[in-house]
């Protein structure tokens, strides 16, 4: 399902001294099956933008299309929009409320009015997707799980609604490196397996760089840059000016290149850099 945003504006508290223009003429298109990274500094408008995509916030002006439906129209059925566009908030574990993991994940699909069997099937599927053992965890209280596990339960709760578009707002915030890698790995796996559209919001370039196939950089409510991560990372100076950086390893390779070594400077991961460096060392007689 394709997302199309035309001239979207959003103003918080219009007409009072706390007025803030959070989105300023945003125009975007995201195709079906894309894995998009939405990056920007705190207050750049990225959270505001994603809340428009499932109708939680109403645009001050502008249009949004999800597939063929214009969701900014008045009479649109928000429930069906919210089924199609799954939104996982920051710290989603704070929304858990049921006595058992099973019941909590069932909340979303039940709201869609699905049958018991279908709900049951979806809970099993989504728990498996996020790497939770169904028989072990389903009857436990979500509040006695570890932070990382709770977050998985919350993500499973959204996945169980089988959205066509999945939006995750900082899914790794506050997790340790292991938990972070696991969650990101599962998101990647989900993308590869079902080929749904994924929008990953983050302010960490390291997380995003190796996953996404397109980057959208936001600054002060506007889309500042968009394109493939390798191209975006070439514009380091611009990124630094708006308070963002590029992955450490990309910095390293750029520095080597600046010092006259003949290596590619658009690498994104340590593995790529290793191959590149080995190639360089072997080809020259520098070793």
């Amino acid at each position: 399902m394709k997302i199309k945003i035309e001239g979207l504006n959003h103003i918080y508290n219009p007409g009072n001294p706390f007025e803030i223009k959070a989105l300023d003429d945003v125009n975007l298109e995201i195709d079906k099956g894309e894995f998009v990274g939405l990056i920007g500094h705190t207050g750049s408008g990225k959270s505001t933008l994603i809340q428009h995509l499932n109708g939680l916030l109403k645009a001050t002006s502008g249009k949004i299309f999800i597939g063929d439906t214009e969701i900014t129209k008045k009479d649109v059925k928000l429930k069906s929009v919210r089924q199609k566009v799954g939104l996982v908030f920051q710290y989603p574990e704070h929304q858990l409320f049921e006595e058992t993991v099973y019941k909590d994940i069932a909340f979303g699909p039940k709201n869609l009015g699905l049958s018991e069997e279908e709900v049951d099937k979806r809970i099993k599927e989504s728990m498996e997707l996020v790497g939770l053992n169904f028989t072990e965890v389903k009857d436990r209280s979500p509040f006695e799980l570890s932070g990382g596990q709770r977050r998985r339960v919350a993500i499973a709760g959204v996945l169980a609604m089988k959205p066509d578009i999945l939006i995750l707002d900082e899914p790794t915030a506050g997790l340790d490196p292991k938990g972070r890698d696991e969650i990101l790995g599962q998101i990647k796996h989900l993308y590869d397996k079902y080929n749904i559209t994924i929008i990953l919001v983050s302010h960490s370039m390291e997380d995003i760089a190796k996953l996404v196939n397109r980057l959208i950089v936001m600054h002060k409510g506007k889309v500042n840059m968009e394109g493939n991560p390798r191209d975006i990372f070439k514009r380091v100076d611009e990124l630094e000016r708006i308070g963002l950086g590029i992955p450490q390893i990309t910095y390293l390779m750029r520095e080597l290149r600046n010092r006259g070594k003949d290596v590619k400077d658009d690498v994104l991961t340590v593995d790529e850099a290793k191959i590149e460096l080995l190639k360089y060392l072997r080809s020259n007689d520098n070793a």
């Binding site: 009072n16 001294p17 809340q51 499932n54 939680l56 429930k79 919210r82 089924q83 799954g86 939104l87 908030f89 989603p92 704070h94 929304q95 858990l96 409320f97 909340f107 979303g108 709201n111 869609l112 509040f143 709760g157 959204v158 609604m161």
Partner: protein, 266 residues
């Protein structure tokens, strides 16, 4: 929905009303409430209106903003009006079955409704022009004399500061959790009362959990910084009275004087 309650919402500014000492502002508000209940005819209301309009004008808070604060209380005002209009005995103006509206009733109803409106506008002007922090500061200072009879003034003020401080945080949290559940298909707006009450569970449980978590964290943070209430605490901003404070207090006393004059001598 949660955003149009003005009481407890600070409207930042640098006007003379904003700059008045919070103690004085609290005293003036008390005097004002006191005066309102002394009024028993319509004429003194003119002075009250003049007093309110001058204060609002000086504070530069848009009138629209203040009137918006009346909205949530409109129902109470209307009920007061109706009860007074119907239940006051006197010359019957209009009759509908057993219900009759009297001339005295209408007069009394208008009178009471006006009193309520002035009461709300006057008190919300206090919270609109005084930041919560200086408000509790003022309350603490005003309660200080009662410490001798065992009133924990500092603790009360601290509790109020914390409560006020967390109102916006909890509102934000409510908004966030509501959105998260709505993203999972929850519906807070339709259905009958039973269904609506039930639909609040996914909102209230996480909200309580987070409130307790926050309270715990705050207590820990205060403890870690060796917080001990009350004695020997110094403050960054000491309150001090200026000429304008005495002047404002004087004007309020004049208002009270005029009203007492009307009540007993005119």
């Amino acid at each position: 929905m949660l955003k149009n309650i003005t009481i407890g919402q600070y409207f930042p500014g640098k006007t003379i009303i904003h700059k008045l000492d919070p103690r004085i502002k609290i005293l003036i508000t008390l005097l004002f409430i006191f005066s309102l209940f002394f009024i028993d005819s319509f004429t003194p209301y003119l002075f009250v209106v003049a007093f309110i309009l001058t204060s609002v004008g000086l504070s530069k808070v848009p009138l629209k903003f203040i009137l918006k604060g009346l909205k949530p209380l409109l129902i109470i005002i209307m009920i007061t009006f109706l009860i007074n209009a119907i239940l006051t005995p006197g010359e019957v103006l209009y009759r509908l079955g057993p219900v009759k509206i009297t001339i005295e009733g209408l007069r009394q109803a208008t009178f009471m409704a006006l009193r309520l409106i002035f009461l709300i506008v006057g008190t919300s002007l206090l919270t609109l022009t005084t930041s919560p922090i200086s408000l509790t500061d003022g309350i603490e200072k005003l309660l200080n004399p009662f410490k001798r009879i065992g009133l924990p003034a500092h603790e009360l003020a601290m509790m109020m500061t914390i409560a006020l401080r967390f109102i916006p945080t909890l509102l934000e949290e409510t908004d966030k959790i509501m959105k998260a559940q709505m993203a999972r298909g929850a519906d807070f707006e339709s259905g009958n009362i039973m269904n609506r009450a039930k639909s609040l569970v996914p909102l209230l449980v996480p909200l309580f959990i987070s409130a307790f978590r926050r309270a715990d964290e705050l207590a820990m943070a205060m403890e870690a910084r060796c917080y001990r209430g009350g004695d020997n605490r110094t403050r960054m901003k000491e309150l001090s009275l200026e000429i304008r404070d005495y002047l404002a207090l004087g004007i309020s006393f004049v208002l009270l004087g005029i009203i007492i004059l009307f009540r007993y001598f005119i």
